[in-house]
Symmetry: C2
Subunit: 793 residues, 2 copies
């Protein structure tokens, strides 16, 4: 077990005393108390489940201070020393004596696990307060601070009269009752008319705010723009057929997306502070739900074309971004919202302190990035998890049509359909369907699945063009094994942020397309709390300097988080490899040789109804027919570990015998090892608790799986007709060689000493590319080919 | 999509009107209203999210009545007919026009899905009321009644002054606010002293009761005895080694379990109505949490040896049963509980109406069965899911040591350790550890992993011996693919219940060791509500006659639930098969032949680090080395489907060349088919909602998987030294033949026409049996062997 915390803030003793008093954890006359008296007073507070002295004493009696004394017996004299205090502290943190640690070995255990308990001597009441203060900031075995554990056991229910909001160690404390929260819906009037009905699109926004805001308290907002918020449609029948030949004709010019003029705003017939619609939607994002009882108002909006809103879905378009920022403009006081869609009664976000943060994963994080690139006033920070920064990099790769993993046949039009949840209300859908069908046609044409090329459609969906507009601070979070939103998305955005003036931070975990907020090895939720408390409450809490600039989970050692200075830095040194028969060699030793393989366009894969996992295993192992459909090269076992950091680049001199063809390449780690599990293991079902009688979610961690012989490091795909760039077609002359540059997806991967680095060159990637069933002969001129790997010094 | 509801109760029109009035869904002067007026009044109630006429009208405007009219426009004249009403009804039930059904085809869709909407003409206000009443009882697309959907959207929050409790169509309605519930802990004094400390074991009981009980309302209790309630211990290191030879020595006589005399009861120094400890434990059983807002108090207790209780774990013993029933005795007023463990203040369950039901799955359901077999007063009914009825049938099979699936090396002592959560409190554990270690030794000796035989230890853990004591009604629920708690457990108990006078019902689903309460194809939760409302509230609601006696999910057709008259009936007719080379044949045609195979005691399995799934696939397919370690026999493709119903029986004449050996057999369904998924598919994440702003869980269903060539039907295991019975050792004379009788686990399986029935005879079952690495030669005299299969006429 290893626990790393980055959100513990160094606090002066004076501030510690003030904070402990604000929590009512020490009595007002604490300075006149002896060590024993102070200890008794403090420990008496730690069992909010008990409501009598007898049961409180019974609770104390469950903890051992020494082998011969329990805490209840010890406290009246309380001759603390460091070991005794930490022995009790560990038990309070739910580590078990005998199972997790030995009674006389608290110090060793603390070091081994990495707990940031105070290790200074403990003799005086002042010492005790400092140790106790620190204990409140340290994580339990179950991934939360001890203060959060106290909170979850009812501390703020049992004792009353706390400040609202309340902060401790720089972070907001859960003093608001989420069950008393007000749930309401308003309709924000955008400037858009995406459904071409001559009226500005109204956008439903759902607000969940602490009851205390009803009495004049203003609080910041965590806003999540989620096209999935009101459900999704089944689009299985709408997926594109990927089992078809390459297109042979270049499409006509992409028609411009139809834009309706902005209609006049609705007349305002009055104002109100009272909404007319409430809601009960599923909780679906535990970070927001964690922060709600801590005083962050939750706002959710589906955006144009989602159920109860107006407009249509346009997948990644500027209109979608405007529909996202419209909510912020209303929250910030810069836009009108109504209590309903018809009678013109305006309502203000009078409970909002004007500071808005955005959160969300995948499409939700994408819209947070999109909003950030507008510089919309009021948006102070975004936490974008697994976010797309350019939709081209989601559905395409260097001219090739590439599906996100497990989403074969999906494209922008399909996703628009998936989220067009106005479809769920029959009478509403009946009105808008003809318009949406037209918009879908434009999406389908614009995305251009024939050439796969970058065009005006995709350019309009590239948020990175507007990086210079970013005013909000940005935290990017991404999984290094995310093949849904591939790593080029955060990598390129991240490097772009270096050219802005905003604070930006990066957190990379070892997961796929998942959250990282319920892993006990890292205090992600605390970090977000610290960050958002600074950015949205304006509390001076050293968050910017306390949180690491870059945090990366190691891929070899479980529960290990590193803080390098950067990731994917363009100046990283490069290791160059030449290609020889089955080997990666020094570039100067490249043989004058042509290697070749024959791709069948996925024919065998389709005929044998193989699954992608099995196919991939055969590719790695170079067994079966797949071995003939690829070329594999390996280094000898490496003497010293290599940390790949950035985008590997493959330069190939290639000839094919067909006028259309694609090329794929992957890097593979060869070497039997107990790698991390692809999906995190559930450590404790429902073990991660978000508040008192509030939601729980599973506690998970990447653990070491059974030994495997290999693992993919990264891969990339390319349309061979895109030798210049993704926007330009260069026709292939069959059997004539040419040079191509293939960028693999950026990565951070530690290849341990003794392992071999492998490169596999192939073509059809049945889980992601078209499966044309075209027979194509590939010839690679090894003398003119090279692999470049950026690495961390 | 197919939906079957069994908990809709036929109700007179007079009662329907009364119930609708009690729900405030129709106004008091409803009898004077025209059809249009009545419709308008009723529909105005159906949108509790809206709090203004404008937003309510907007909600109505989302539904289509006909292709040209929405509901808001329709209602002022409201010329209903059946098709119009059902078109709206389907939308209210969240079926989507265009996606799920066509606007002009409601009747076909209703029939196809199996919705029990009223199909009589709709012309008068009276007709309307009857149709609307029925609609409230019909399931939405998301597995709940329309009334529950209304409830979940805040109906009982928006309107006030309902009766508490409130019943509709025979079932309790969610009018209690679970967030206002009182959470408290008391300590029940048992007659036990399992920790031998000279004091009666106190047992912590957690109570979660609606706030309204504080003012004198008494309600029934749903009690779940869960040894896992306060956590579990990690016992990986305590698992028994199964990679070892058969034991060669018969152990000495099993020592009797140590029983301490019952100490005197604690002195009572006073009484109180106020508890002194509250709690916040995870919600873990959605049936209880569904029923809490419906007026069923939830009580949880860990029992002896669990955290905060006294005593030690004894796994299945009579003491454990007594610790389970002690809570019921307190709830029923027959036993003392205290507010804490020390000062003798007694407290009564003054909020309980004296009627207790038990619920739970696995160990939890087991303790419900255990309690039922005591006849303890107050216990009116048990719903036992995947329950053990004799612990011998959990850890043993006909003399062989057999692990529950995925639990190799587990046994009664390991489970006792797993649940001995007093270990989590260091000071408490320090006191009791020496005693528990002694008890563990007795458990280890008593369970006797050497012979695997039935003895006094297991006999004390056979609840079926006390079937004649059962006074509570019993509902057994079990998965037909549960290889954790194998089907002999419910099958034998079920047949035993036929000899009692209690009402008993059986529900078998196609899952493994799972719940069946979140599958939209069946209204399990409604059935439980109906049942518990009758049994615990005493409401006359026809539950006994309305609910099927036996409900079985079909294994071929998804979403299909059958109601045969019985299961595993001992008089079921038998099909007899003889064994020939690779064939199952007519018994008269048995060849005079010896078939043989060589078992390696799992050596190859262990050496190649194979996983059980792969091993099993090879066994079914008879490929690899496994084919030589088994004998396989198949029928020709069967002309007519065969419904196996009960326990298949294999009679074998066998000789082995070793003095110790085991034997296994399985039945296999051969035939390429799209079978049901082994685990249910998540249909809608968090789609199953238990109440207003209350918990949600996933909605799941068994769907058709990709085609597979075979599936195991059932299996069984036998120690060859147990030819007479499980309690008697008959030494094997190597190489001398003898006859054995192997009972396979009872099953219900529909083998479709065209498939082949397969029998595989083998020995080591690496996921369940010992893996001795012993080389054993098996000879089967086919002329003297026979397979008997009970089937459903």
């Amino acid at each position: 077990m290893h626990i790393q915390q980055f959100a513990q803030v160094t606090t002066s003793f004076a501030a510690q005393q003030q904070e402990l008093q604000a929590l009512h954890l020490i009595p007002s006359h604490y300075q006149s108390l002896s060590l024993a008296e102070l200890s008794q007073a403090v420990f008496a507070k730690l069992f909010p489940e008990t409501s009598s002295t007898v049961t409180m004493q019974a609770a104390l009696g469950r903890y051992l201070v020494t082998n011969t004394q329990n805490l209840a017996a010890f406290l009246p004299t309380a001759n603390w020393d460091l070991a005794r205090f930490n022995t009790v502290a560990l038990q309070l943190l739910q580590f078990e004596v005998g199972t997790d640690f030995q009674l006389d070995q608290s110090a060793q255990f603390i070091t081994q696990v990495g707990l940031n308990l105070l290790m200074t001597p403990l003799k005086t009441p002042q010492d005790f307060l400092q140790h106790f203060y620190t204990l409140l900031t340290v994580h339990t075995k179950f991934g939360i601070t001890y203060l959060d554990d106290l909170t979850n056991r009812g501390y703020f229910k049992a004792t009353q009269n706390f400040a609202h909001p309340l902060f401790f160690n720089g972070k907001a404390v859960a003093v608001f009752d989420p069950h008393q929260a007000i749930h309401e819906v308003v309709y924000v009037e955008s400037d858009l008319d995406t459904d071409h009905d001559g009226k500005r699109d109204l956008l439903a926004a759902t607000i969940i705010r602490p009851r205390e805001t009803a009495n004049g308290l203003t609080l910041p907002v965590l806003y999540t723009a989620s096209p999935y918020y009101r459900g999704t449609n089944d689009v299985d029948a709408d997926l594109h057929n990927v089992n078809r030949p390459f297109a042979t004709t270049v499409p006509a010019a992409i028609p411009a997306e139809p834009l309706a003029p902005t209609p006049a705003p609705r007349a305002i017939h009055g104002t109100s502070q009272k909404t007319e619609v409430s809601c009960d939607e599923p909780n679906f994002y535990s970070l927001n739900e964690y922060l709600l009882p801590r005083g962050f108002i939750n706002v959710f909006a589906g955006g144009i074309g989602t159920r109860d809103s107006e407009g249509v879905r346009t997948c990644g378009s500027p209109a979608e971004t405007a529909s996202t920022t419209a909510i912020i403009e209303w929250l910030h006081g810069d836009r009108v919202a109504f209590t309903n869609k018809t009678d013109g009664i305006a309502i203000k976000a009078w409970w909002c302190n004007g500071k808005i943060g955005m959160t969300g994963k995948s499409y939700l994080g994408t819209l947070a990035l999109a909003a950030a690139t507008t510089g919309v006033p009021g948006l102070k920070t975004v936490v974008a998890e697994a976010a797309i920064s350019s939709w081209y990099d989601y559905y395409r790769d260097q001219g090739a049509v590439i599906a996100p993993v497990d989403c074969q046949g999906e494209d922008a039009d399909v996703l628009a359909k998936l989220c067009f949840t106005r479809q769920k209300d029959a009478a509403d859908y009946q009105q808008v369907k003809p318009t949406f069908d037209q918009v879908l046609q434009h999406l389908s044409a614009g995305q251009d699945r024939n050439t796969g090329d970058y065009n005006a459609f995709w350019d309009a969906r590239n948020y990175r063009k507007h990086l210079d507009q970013v005013k909000a601070s940005v935290i990017l979070v991404h999984g290094l094994n995310d093949w849904n939103v591939k790593l080029r998305n955060p990598a390129t955005f991240w490097q772009g942020l270096h050219h802005t003036h905003v604070t930006h931070k990066l957190m990379l975990h070892q997961g796929k397309h998942i959250y990282m907020n319920n892993m006990p090895s890292i205090d992600f939720t605390d970090m977000m709390n610290l960050w958002l408390t600074q950015e949205l409450f304006g509390v001076t809490n050293q968050a910017t300097n306390t949180l690491p600039q870059v945090l990366i989970q190691d891929n070899v050692q479980p529960e290990t988080w590193l803080t390098p200075t950067d990731w994917n830095h363009l100046d990283n040194p490069q290791q160059h490899y030449g290609l020889s028969a089955h080997q990666l060699i020094h570039p100067t030793q490249r043989p004058n040789e042509i290697a070749q393989f024959q791709d069948d366009g996925g024919q065998h894969f389709l005929e044998t109804q193989q699954n992608v996992t099995d196919w991939e295993q055969q590719l790695f192992a170079q067994t079966g027919i797949v071995a003939q459909q690829s070329l594999a090269f390996k280094t000898p076992p490496i003497a010293k570990e290599l940390i790949i950091d950035g985008a590997a680049h493959l330069q190939l001199n290639v000839a094919v015998d067909q006028p259309h063809a694609l090329l794929s390449a992957m890097l593979v780690d060869y070497g039997v090892a107990r790698r991390l599990t692809p999906d995190p293991t559930v450590i404790e079902r429902q073990g991660y608790q978000l508040g008192y009688h509030w939601l729980r979610t599973d506690l998970v961690e990447f653990t070491q799986a059974a030994p495997t012989p290999f693992k993919m490091i990264t891969k990339g795909h390319l349309d061979l007709e895109n030798t210049i760039d993704s926007a330009t077609i260069t026709p292939i002359v069959p059997n004539q060689d040419f040079t191509v540059h293939l960028d693999l997806q950026p990565m951070r991967y530690r290849l341990p000493a003794g392992h071999q680095l492998g490169l596999i060159i192939y073509a059809t990637d049945p889980g992601m590319t078209l499966r044309t069933c075209q027979q194509t002969q590939y010839q690679i001129n090894l003398a003119a080919s090279q692999l470049n790997i950026p690495f961390q010094k």
